[in-house]
Amino acid sequence: MKVALFVTCLVDQLCPNVGMATVEVLERAGCTVTFDERQTCCGQPAFNTGYRTEAREFATRFIEIFESTDAEAIVIPSGSCTAMVKHFHEMFEGEPEWKERADRIAAKTYELSSFLINVLGVVNIGATSDGKATCHDACHGLRDLNIHDEPRLLLNNVEGLEFVEMENADVCCGFGGTFSVKYPEISAGILDNKIEMIENSGADTVVACDASCLMQIAGRLSRIGSKVKTKHIAEILASQE
């Protein structure tokens, strides 16, 4: 299947290896991956802070870019950016034509783990790893896209990797985009609870389907000198140690 990758700005600039891992995983699953270099950001920071005019710019651009591909699916290694694409139509109140274009694009856009399981039907991607991993549910993936079992299924099928569930895996990490810098103390307070649950799980790696949550979690783990590592699901699935 031909898929168009929207890599997200965060992955593109801060953790490009997650992007490369996503390509690797998709190719191993039998997909042909295309990447349109005109892509930038989905506009979520603007939308979530209330700047709909600015967010609309990003939405129209995204739609135009991904309309120009003949790929059957658009795959994003982020639940949060995927959810943003699904919200695009809200920015076109009173513009039925744009709304329809937004809906068409949204209908073929998938978060990576959900795409692997629910579209391709692949649960074992042939990955091998070691150690003990736990999974943090990114909020928008979980509650906007209903992604819960997908990353767990995939992780359970990684050879050599032990999966453990942490308590409150479905509770927010406190990131919340601009919330993390508008209310840094509250954000860090929520994060501390998450860190406690991660440490209590006994896992040496915390996995998520969103680079943004991982940035938040890694930021604190690194600050307190924890041994626990963060990994995007794509990185685990691409690994063949």
């Binding site: 890599v7 700005c9 992955v11 593109d12 600039q13 801060l14 953790c15 490009p16 992007g19 490369m20 390509v23 990447f35 270099e37 005109r38 930038t40 950001c41 506009g43 920071p45 603007a46 939308f47 979530n48 802070t49 209330g50 700047y51 709909r52 005019t53 600015e54 967010a55 710019e57 990003f58 909020c139 928008h140 979980l142 509650r143 906007d144 509770v171 927010c172 406190g174 919340g176 985009g177 601009t178 919330f179 993390s180 810098v181 508008k182 209310y183 840094p184 103390e185 509250i186 307070g189 929520i190 994060l191 609870n193 940035m215 938040q216 890694a218 930021g219 604190r220 690194s222 600050r223």
Partner: protein, 485 residues
């Protein structure tokens, strides 16, 4: 005793103070642990919880769409059963009506059942100003009244207080011996309150549901104080938000399954008082007069827009507070409103004005836990986003136009201009890669203080307790290009 309360306008400061309070933190942790689990267990006893939520929401939606008709039916039927109906456009009018009624009875005191509508219109202050003593009879409300505070939770008003703090308060205010025995504390309250019930001529309550079909009001509780407030007194005044009306008695089947389970994790509250008018025979027990004060106070404004209308579906269960990671951190008082937590963050600005509470819509990570637990499926994150956009874009809402935040709106304009083109996007990231050399150590950015934190506030805010990642030496698009070569 502190009489000045935090307001929504000082949310940022309130939140910081709350975070620095270790006792509050302990109390909130208990709340999160116990109520969230109790709710989860309670909803598992319902076969089709999702279906029940759907039904509740569709009943509320249908009622709100024709609220005028249902209000007419409710008030007509309540009047037929002997209730007197009063209409209050706002809190001031509602207080005046209540004061008039209490004054006509020459009552120097009133017993009060827990009422959020009463809190909303600051009824206690109005009564006190008129020389009438309001006596809260719900244990939690009584405690915070003794302490001179306001409720910090819709359902559990004194949740922010520990057992120890309550014991100390009782020693100071009612003169008991120091104890940490909860039974002794509740028995003390009971003894004092029973006496006040016996004295009272007038009882004031809220309303959980008003049934249009019969004119019945339903009030839920666990302590029996509402039953006493509404049956021992000669005059019962019920303050009811106009959104509380539901069409039929049979609809209670849905709401009575949802509300106690969502709120306190109970299958049913201990008491459900269904009150239809006044007693039929003079010899019966019960008030001679029932007055229902129908309160608008900004509610009809919310009806106008289909998105904001759903705010009125709220049945005040408090589940969204318990589930909210932000509420769990800062508690209710920080919101500076009688309605705290996620639901408070959307209805406080709509009821009392966005300009007086413009921080509240941002006090959320948009995690959606509130929407997930809401028994009437209110899309709280969507409403938070709606309010944020009204602030960001300076869209008039209700009776006012919020002032835009200049610095922030400039930043987002720049972001949109630069990042909606791949050339300037890549350029900006190359610039960031160069600049980070001054602050990055070992592949990350540690705590940034001093001038730099002032010049780039988000960097200072992020790095106070978290390390920041650096822009990678090679972006994905560069790696992709190399791979394709």
């Amino acid at each position: 005793m502190s009489t000045t309360h935090a307001t929504a306008e000082t949310f940022d400061r309130n939140a910081r103070e709350a975070l620095a309070d270790p006792v509050l933190h302990g109390a909130l942790r208990n709340l999160a642990d116990s109520f969230v689990i109790r709710r989860r267990n309670a909803i598992s006893s319902v076969d089709d919880w999702e279906g029940l939520r759907e039904r509740a929401r569709s009943i509320k939606d249908a009622t709100l769409l024709h609220l005028d008709e249902y209000l007419e039916r409710f008030t007509e039927n309540a009047a037929k059963a002997g209730a007197t109906i009063h209409w209050a456009r706002d809190g001031k009018e509602a207080c005046e009506i209540v004061l008039g009624l209490v004054g006509a009875k020459n009552a120097g005191m009133v017993v009060k059942a827990k009422t959020m509508a009463g809190e909303e219109i600051h009824l206690n202050e109005a009564l006190e100003a008129a020389g009438i003593e309001p006596v809260e009879t719900d244990l939690g409300e009584w405690i915070i009244q003794l302490a001179g505070e306001t409720p910090s939770h819709i359902v559990v008003p004194a949740i922010h207080k520990t057992k120890q703090q309550i014991a100390d308060l009782f020693v100071e205010k009612v003169g008991i011996e120091k104890t940490d025995n909860v039974d002794v504390l509740t028995q003390t309250a009971r003894k004092i309150l029973r006496k006040r019930f016996a004295e009272a001529q007038v009882g004031i309550s809220g309303v959980n549901f008003g049934v249009a079909e019969t004119g019945t009001i339903l009030i839920l509780e666990n302590e029996g104080n509402i039953r006493l407030t509404t049956s021992l007194t000669k005059t019962h005044i019920a303050v009811m938000g106009i959104e509380k009306v539901i069409p039929k008695l049979a609809d209670l089947d849905v709401f009575l399954k949802l509300l106690p389970r969502s709120g306190t994790g109970q299958r049913l509250t201990t008491y459900q008082s269904l009150i239809t008018g006044v007693k039929n025979n003079a010899d019966d027990i019960g008030p001679d007069e029932l007055h229902i004060v129908m309160l608008d106070n900004g509610r009809s404004r919310m009806l106008a827009h289909p998105l904001t209308r759903q705010s009125l579906a709220c049945i005040r269960c408090g589940a969204c507070l318990n589930a909210c990671p932000v509420y769990q951190q800062i508690g209710g008082h920080a919101y500076g409103s009688v309605y705290p937590g996620p639901i408070g963050a959307i209805i406080t600005p709509q009821l009392f004005g966005l300009s007086k509470s413009k921080q509240l819509p941002y006090a959320s990570s948009l995690c959606g836990a509130c929407r997930e637990v809401c028994p009437v499926k209110i899309d709280i994150p969507a409403l938070l986003l709606h309010l944020r956009s009204e602030i960001a874009e300076g869209i008039p809402s209700g009776t006012e136009t919020p002032t835009r935040k200049r610095g922030e709106s400039f930043a987002f304009r720049m972001y949109s201009r630069m990042w909606s083109r791949s050339g300037t996007y890549a350029l900006s990231m190359r610039a960031a890669r160069l600049m980070q050399k001054f602050v990055a150590r070992d592949g990350k950015i540690g705590k940034i203080g001093g001038m730099l934190a002032v010049l780039v506030p988000p960097l200072g805010a992020w790095t106070a307790r978290r390390d920041a990642p650096i822009v990678a030496a090679k972006s994905f698009r560069e790696m992709w290009r190399e791979k394709k070569k």
